[in-house]
Amino acid sequence: MNVKEVKNKLKLKTNTSKTKFPQVKIDGFQDAIKNTDMLKVVEQIKREKITKP
């Protein structure tokens, strides 16, 4: 994570409290993490991006 990303992440925390984000989207994401290979697949794609010339 570079400096820009860290700064953006800090701003994110102050902004999310005002946002009423749909619970169905939050639940869908949590379910996908729990019940699918999402994290593994994303890591795999990121590795391919790094190694691809």
Partner: protein, 144 residues
Amino acid sequence: MDQPKYEFKRTNELHFDFISVGKKGEIHKRVTFIEFHYGFFNMGLGDLNLETAEVDYYSVTDNGDRNTVLATVSEIIESFFELYPSHTIYFKGTSNSRTRLYQMAINHFYDELSERFHILGELDDKMTRFKRNTNYKSFLILKK
């Protein structure tokens, strides 16, 4: 992408606003990104109420400009990845019909989208590369 798009402005790193212009007039739209897990942003599209600054993610606008709105969202995703190039965007609809709408949109723009992004769909217990004519529960996008 040849499809017309609306101009949008980034009101902060997580909010991108634009105005939909169609048969029902001008409707302010906001695309929001929220990080719920490190490296993953959950994306939402809704109608922005300028008086309250609240976003209605459940509204069915039917402004007759669906493809223009979706092409604009595609450009917003590109812009978002300029800030967070190594992150992943997750999205699904607030209803099954809206998720199907997103799927139809990806189908429609797939050739152009797939040149810029990795697109995956949730199918049973797998996240697989997006294929046309398959029904997914949710989607992931990564920058190529």
